[in-house]
């Protein structure tokens, strides 16, 4: 019990911090998405000169936002599911059923992570023309003296990060459920819901 408690504490510490960071990145990404689209509206309707990069930038930010904050939903509230059956079966069976479901979710995450990594590291690393135009227009490369190029793979990477975080959370949930089956639910409570995720916050 001591060993599993120590391992769970380690997962808890890593996941809690990673997800706090994820939510912070998600917050910034959502704010930037709004600013980017408002910039486009200003250029399109006021200056009558639509920019080539805002929609691509907003989509990239949206995917990164999703990747960084969705694991918080999985860890603290669970993704949408129908849990009615769980109310009508014996507690022991319910615990085994939840463990099986968590194992299935972990397995799916592993398979998807393999595909996400292949997608990211495939040889076809296209340049992102819209976002490179942003670098060119703003003169960031000239200012920094760098040769930074945006590639679409940087957006694909979001899915690998997302699935890695989901996998980390999955492993913690599987381990906690396993411990609950052996030592009882009370000994291994669920992680505390962050204030920002409470219904009435």
């Amino acid at each position: 019990m001591k060993t599993i408690r120590a391992v769970l504490a380690m997962f808890d510490a890593i996941n809690t911090r990673a997800l706090i960071l994820g939510r912070a990145i998600g917050l910034v990404a959502l704010g930037l998405m709004v600013l980017v689209i408002l910039t486009q509206i200003f250029f399109r309707y006021v200056l009558n000169n639509a920019l080539p990069w805002p929609e691509e930038a907003a989509r990239a930010l949206m995917i990164w936002m999703m990747a960084m904050v969705a694991p918080s939903a999985y860890r603290y509230t669970g993704f949408v599911s129908i849990n009615m059956l769980h109310e009508y079966i014996p507690a022991r069976l319910k615990n085994y059923l939840i463990l099986s479901i968590l194992l299935l979710c972990t397995f799916v995450s592993i398979i998807m992570l393999q595909h996400a990594w292949t997608h990211f590291s495939s040889p076809l690393l296209f340049d992102s023309s819209g976002l490179n135009r942003l670098l060119q227009d703003t003169g960031i490369n000239q200012l920094l003296g760098t040769q930074i190029q945006f590639r679409t793979a940087y957006i694909y990477l979001a899915m690998s990060v997302f699935l890695t975080l989901i996998l980390m959370v999955s492993l913690e949930l599987v381990m906690r459920q396993f411990a609950r089956i052996i030592w009882g639910n009370e000994s291994f409570p669920s992680p505390k819901l962050p204030n920002v995720m409470a219904v009435n916050s």
Binding site: R59, L104, M112, T118, H119, I155, M159
Partner: protein, 509 residues
């Protein structure tokens, strides 16, 4: 074909409690593997990514953020006070106010949950104080909150439009009359119940001693006049037949005429209503500009849904941070995080839906199901009844968004082939599954209403039954009278050559 078994497997996964997102990937993925189509699993993954990587979906986090900002900025209190001045004096006043506030709130937020938590936390205690039972207050809050995703903007309609490749603007236009019908139906039921159960006497103003700053007073007066003049402008064009060669001068002349009529109407109402009424109405003008921006932008063809939603965010932030000063910069963090989390879960499901849709088409299950359904009956009236029953049962157990994502790609092609217009079918699905949010045992808004009111879900579930009966009746009206869903989209030119009358009215002519 073994691949078609992914659907029963998917249903088993759902029943045992596998999260919808994972079930949508695991069931088709497993059957593809058994069928020796491992390469298609990679295609499924690509479609998750491509499914999320679309500009239309940006509107989902933006509308959620705008709703959250509006909620925190305290505009709920202004809308409720405004509803109170309009309808508060009839019997069952606060219950009617609850419904009208939901209809107004629906024009700003696309979420039933936001509606329940915002209006419930304010109106349930107020209703209890006036002598309504807490369970009735919670039930009417939950029942009226389903109007949120029906009257545009609507999160689930954006999802449907994207997954099923239908115009967002057409769906938004199509939701207006069904949403108003649900609201009016609930109001009639409340009025009937008020007589039977002797609801407390009505009181016109909930919030007394309201005041308005000089600056807001001025801005509200200008905006109210501009809004009414814009409504009267088409009338001015038709009534005043003077033609001016220069187009700009022609528009300016008729708009000035509309403004003059507006001013006369405003001066008349000044003499008819009390000062308190006018202040409450002026305080509602700035919040009510949000649906004007959103709907005017999208339905007028001026802005895309994404642009309109970003403008709604900017306007809500401006309202909360600068004009009303009801939120500060510190509040923005939690608001952004909450909106990001809620919308991310939806985005993930949309991605999974696109992967699921790939396997639906690879397996030809929609075609097989169509043959099976048509073997039962080919009477469209009966088929629509059956589909409504199916949707209602699904809505009892599953949220509207995931249900649309799962059932849309399977059911919509069947009914479109039978001659049902895609926008009409979208409305049937959206309204039916949205009502499912308030049906026991798994209605999401019942849980939120329970958490806000402290009343047990089972108790609210019983109290909500008369209102659910009204909503089911409206679903049938929408199903058998397509003009309800297609009237406005057709008038605005989003829908062409549609049979507005439908099979029942059509059989008489």
């Amino acid at each position: 074909m073994i691949l078609a078994w992914f659907l029963p497997l998917f249903l088993i996964f759902l029943m045992i409690g596998v999260p919808v997102y994972f079930a949508m990937l695991a069931a088709p993925g497993f059957m593809l593997y058994l069928n020796g189509q491992e390469r298609d699993i990679a295609l499924m993954y690509r479609n998750i990514f491509n499914g999320i990587d679309n500009g239309v979906l940006l509107a989902i986090p933006f509308f959620m953020l705008a709703g959250e900002l509006m909620n925190k900025a305290g505009i709920t209190e202004r809308l409720v006070a405004f509803s109170q001045t309009i309808i508060g004096s009839v019997r069952g006043g606060l219950a009617q106010v609850n419904i009208l506030s939901s209809m107004l709130f629906a024009g700003m937020s696309g979420s039933a949950v936001a509606d329940t938590s915002a209006l419930g936390s304010m109106l349930i205690p107020a209703m209890e104080k006036q002598g309504y039972t807490r369970k009735f207050a919670a039930a009417i809050t939950a029942a009226s909150s389903v109007i949120g995703p029906i009257i545009p903007p609507s999160g689930i309609m954006i999802i449907y439009a994207y997954v099923m490749e239908v115009s967002v603007a057409a769906l938004f236009a199509g939701g207006i009359i069904p949403g108003i019908l649900v609201g009016m139906g609930l109001m009639i039921m409340t009025r009937l119940m008020a007589n039977k159960y002797e609801f407390p006497p009505a009181k016109r103003f909930v919030i007394e001693g309201v005041h308005i700053s000089n600056a807001e007073n001025f801005v509200a007066r200008v905006i109210a006049r501009l809004m009414l003049a814009t409504v009267l402008y088409p009338l001015a064009i038709n009534v005043i037949t003077i033609q001016i060669a220069d187009h700009f001068k022609h528009v300016l002349f008729h708009f000035t005429c509309a403004l003059i009529v507006t001013e006369i109407l405003f001066q008349i109402q000044r003499r008819l209503v009390s000062n308190e009424f006018r202040i409450v109405a002026k305080r509602a003008v700035l919040p009510l500009l949000t649906p004007v921006i959103i709907l005017g932008g999208i339905l007028g063809g001026v802005a895309t849904p994404t642009e309109a939603s970003a403008l709604a965010v900017a306007y809500s932030a401006l309202l909360g941070l600068i004009i009303l000063r009801s939120i500060n910069l510190k509040d923005l963090g939690p608001i952004l995080v909450k909106s990001a989390i809620t919308s991310s879960v939806v985005l993930l499901l949309v991605g999974a839906a696109m992967a699921f849709k790939t396997v639906v088409s690879l397996s030809h299950i929609a075609e097989d199901l169509a043959v099976y359904i048509l073997a039962l009956t080919n009477n469209p009236l009966l088929l629509l009844l059956l589909i409504n029953l199916l949707l209602f049962i699904v809505g009892m157990f599953l949220d509207a968004g995931p249900a649309i994502i799962i059932l849309g790609p399977i059911l919509a092609p069947i009914f479109i082939d039978l001659g049902i217009h895609p926008v009409h079918f979208a409305m049937i699905m959206s309204v039916n599954l949205t009502v499912g949010l308030a049906t026991p045992p798994m209605g999401l808004v019942l849980f939120v209403a329970s958490s806000v009111s402290g009343v047990k879900v089972e108790t609210i579930s019983k109290a909500i039954l008369p209102f659910l009966a009204v909503e089911i009746f409206v679903i049938f009206l929408i199903t058998y009278f397509p003009v309800i869903s297609l009237g406005i989209p057709s008038w605005l030119g989003f829908v062409k050559d549609a049979d507005l009358m439908g099979p029942i009215v059509g059989s008489f002519f």
